[in-house]
Symmetry: C2
Subunit: 304 residues, 2 copies
């Protein structure tokens, strides 16, 4: 595999791959006739493991050591955390979650879809989003990070969950006056869509007028869209996998682009790592979004 193919499959940039090789001696690709790097499949697999652990918070300097210790440091503690989290919830919810996770592991898209739809019917959209979906995202994310779930299984889960959430949102009645107007999207590097759909579901349930642009809108276009829609609030979603160091500068840059009366909300797990900043509101948890909506309404009494 060429360096471009490795970047595509692992998500690690070319510059980073080259500097790792220079500094740590790994990866150590062979070269073709022209001196260009060719990565063996085994090293690509190892790079994927390293990427997973880095998303968990480990630093690369510690991960280029022996492979055995990595696997130990990886699976052992993460399993404990997940097991305790699973055990803590107990009861019928935990059973439903287990059934859903099982159908992910067996790649049974139809069963997965049905289990999700069933859970939503029983709990209603509000309860489904706040309990089941949130818990599943954490469980799937953790299982992926410790290598129990393949990338394609996560895609399968995302696709089915997306279908269920979109169907539910489409069937909601839209209040006509609808205030505030909320513009939902993510920045160009962030492609996780479930956080957006969860927020859209909850805020629409609370009577806000949500417009979603989907994922990966350039900052300049977010401003244009906010102006065109006369949005009261721009809400961005950042997943846990998004490089934390970039969130602060991105939020500041967008804040400077947006008109002052437009509120800027940052949601998703990534919001935990957002440094406090004027005019930017961090909403790491779903409940925070609902609370922020109530606050906004206190400060903006109906005017028509």
């Amino acid at each position: 595999m060429t360096i471009s193919a490795v970047e595509r499959d692992t998500g690690i940039g070319k510059e980073t791959l080259r500097v790792w090789e220079r500094r740590y001696g790994f990866p150590a690709p062979s070269r073709d006739a022209h001196g260009e790097r060719l990565y063996p499949a085994a090293q690509v697999e190892r790079l994927r493991q390293i990427k997973r652990l880095m998303d968990l918070g480990f630093r690369p300097g510690r991960l280029v050591g022996a492979s055995d210790e990595e696997l130990a440091a990886l699976s052992a503690p993460a399993t404990t955390v997940a097991a305790s989290a699973g055990a803590a919830s107990g009861g019928p919810l935990a059973a439903a979650l287990e059934r859903i996770l099982a159908s992910i592991r067996t790649h049974d898209a139809a069963a997965l879809r049905q289990a999700l739809a069933q859970a939503m019917m029983r709990q209603g959209l509000h309860g489904f989003v706040r309990e089941t979906v949130a818990a599943l995202n954490v469980a799937v994310g953790e299982a992926w990070m410790r290598g129990e779930i393949e990338v394609f299984e996560e895609h399968l889960y995302t696709e089915q969950m997306q279908a269920v959430l979109r169907q539910a949102i489409a069937s909601l009645p839209r209040p006509q006056p609808g205030r505030p107007r909320v513009l939902l999207t993510t920045v160009p590097e962030e492609q996780h869509v479930l956080g957006l759909l969860m927020a859209e579901a909850l805020l629409t349930l609370e009577g806000a007028a949500c417009t979603s642009l989907g994922t990966q809108t350039p900052l300049l276009d977010i401003r244009r869209a906010a102006e065109a829609q006369r949005a009261d609030i721009v809400a961005l979603s950042f997943s846990a996998a998004f490089p934390g160091r970039q969130i602060g500068p991105l939020a500041a840059q967008l804040r400077a682009l947006l008109p002052a009366p437009v509120a800027l909300w940052i949601g998703g797990s990534g919001a935990e790592r957002l440094p406090p900043s004027a005019g930017v509101r961090a909403l790491p948890r779903l409940d925070d979004a609902v609370a922020a909506l109530a606050e906004w309404r206190d400060g903006h009494p109906a005017r028509d």
Copy 2:
């Protein structure tokens, strides 16, 4: 804007930006105290124009000339093409398309959604996908390329269309035995989802068992998914915007990864630029997919 921000907003890679500066003298960013490039907003806007024209097939060497000639070479011929295409269809379909395009230009998400749903009700899913959606994608793409539609307006369109198509697909009855099994996805650089949804709708209507992984699945994971799902066919979608030179090598690489009995289909506008290759089937148009499905069934009589 830093070079990273420009890459994010224009989709032009850092390496390419630097080599253009070296070769053509444009862009000509200023430098900060540390010698790093800082791009003025005007140059970023020009880069966006250049990118649009390159997606149309122009080469960068011709585009770094004067700004006036570019705009002329851009808008004049493209408008003609679009006008003739619009006029050629004539009748009630053209009127519906015009209404939809108008609601995109006025950023009226609710009206857009309603117009799309209405068109689908009248035509049925099959006719809607083959006529309206295909024509809209071309019209929106062309309007975007000649600068009449902003990126965020295209996002708005994609989001609403996605909602309508997903809702329609979800309401289709799924034939239980369901052959062949088709795995739908795109490669990591390709994020356009509408092509996938259109294919999923048509193939499901024809009785195939479709499983979609959504967009941007790494090649290794496509293989794993195909094995896990025991897929008969892997279908990839490439949009017109995808760099044409990469499609051939990508298809060949995936072909080598997949088991021989699994067919590999390449759909979307990008398939036009796919060089003929053994074991890879190019399906540039939607009708081709339906025809290929019939052919597959001829060659694989029901065995259970």
